[in-house]
């Protein structure tokens, strides 16, 4: 195996700072940005590894933050994870602190909602691009063609939690892996 290139902590911090300053839409929008930047542009992690990270992140609460922490850790261990997490949160922290100050001092919120109305459709486009890319790479077998739409429908139409969907998928995948090994 080729030795991992040491990515400077400063670089990790910078990349996630930019993601944290532009990932309006939150959640999957941020995940899609991280995927685009860290998997495709920088080639820091492979798509498989990153998708494992998304799955872990879904289990542990705020998955936008978690997927940043995961990539940071993968590159540079604990310090890398912290650099990525702090970089990602810092812009939102500054923005909220500033807006909170305005709010509690003047009891007014600036008209940012209309800006968000502009970003939302584009963010959906961003997430779709990520989903299409992941789908092309990962939906090849017949089982995959079954599992992906099922997971989509469960989450989109029946409000099943991501955690439950992933646990069921993991049990199924584990059973398959077990079966394959026993009958190899």
């Amino acid at each position: 195996m080729e030795a991992k290139r040491q990515v400077p902590l400063r670089e990790i911090f910078k990349v996630f700072l930019i993601i944290g300053a532009t990932g309006f839409g939150g959640g999957m929008a941020v995940v899609s940005l991280v995927e685009r930047t860290c998997v495709h542009e920088k080639k820091w992690v492979t798509l498989d590894e990153f998708m494992h990270g998304i799955a872990f992140g879904q289990i542990l609460g705020p998955f936008s933050l978690n997927s940043c922490t995961f990539v940071g850790y993968y590159l540079r261990g604990v310090m890398g994870g912290i650099a990525a997490a702090v970089g990602f949160i810092a812009p939102s922290f500054c923005l909220i602190s500033f807006l909170s100050w305005l709010y509690f001092k003047f009891h007014e919120l600036p008209e940012l909602q209309s800006a968000l109305k502009g970003t939302n459709p584009v963010v959906i486009g961003l997430i779709l691009v990520a989903a299409v890319g992941m789908g092309k790479a990962k939906i090849k077998s017949r089982t995959a063609w079954l599992m992906a739409p099922l997971a989509f429908a469960a989450s989109a139409f029946f409000n099943v939690s991501a955690l439950l969907i992933l646990v069921v998928a993991a049990l199924w995948a584990l059973a398959r892996a077990w079966y394959k090994r026993e009958n190899a």
Binding site: V30, P62, L126, A148, P149, F152, L166
Partner: protein, 173 residues
């Protein structure tokens, strides 16, 4: 308001909000509005709206609440402590990951759930679309955004910020 108490409260909230952001709203509402009276109901609702304006997770509500309780220091302490548990756990999980994935069964399981992850990503697009694709204009923006992001190398940062500027300047309602 003691900073230590603030830290302790948000650490505890951080420990229980595994499983997704939206359990956080009723939980924080009970603690901040009903029990501690740190925020009025309308302040709380404005805080939720505010935290959804940012790229950060919904838990950024902690920053808002902390700011009211203790200024910038309060905001900083609340933010650090609400994210401490999940970040620590995520670091721990990531550290096991590289070792575990070399085990054949774990690897098979992890790779087996990837189609479900694709489904979840697509479902997020659907959920966002259901609430924010309301007019022809929105679909137009979606189409243009998708084409730019899929077929050009223009940075998504510019695309998102540009769309935000358009929405702001043209007063999207």
């Amino acid at each position: 308001m003691g900073i230590v108490k603030l830290a302790f409260i948000f650490l505890r909230i951080g420990l229980i909000f595994f499983g997704g952001g939206y359990v956080l709203i009723p939980l924080l509402h009970r603690i901040m509005v009903d029990r501690l009276h740190w925020l009025t109901l309308s302040e709380f609702l404005d805080g939720v709206a505010l935290s959804q304006l940012t790229p950060g997770p919904l838990a950024m509500l902690a920053t808002f609440t902390g700011f009211k309780a203790g200024g910038v220091i309060g905001a900083l302490v609340s933010t650090v402590f609400i994210f401490l548990p999940c970040t620590t756990l995520m670091l721990f999980l990531s550290s096991r990951y590289e070792r575990l994935r070399n085990m054949e069964l774990v690897r098979g399981t992890l790779d087996g759930i990837l189609p479900a992850v694709v489904g979840l990503v697509a479902a997020a697009a659907y959920a966002l679309g259901k609430t924010s694709l309301l007019s022809l204009r929105d679909f137009l923006l979606l189409g243009v955004g998708f084409v730019i992001l899929q077929f050009t190398r223009i940075s998504p940062m510019f695309v998102i910020l540009g769309a935000g500027a358009i929405g702001y300047l043209f007063h999207f309602a």
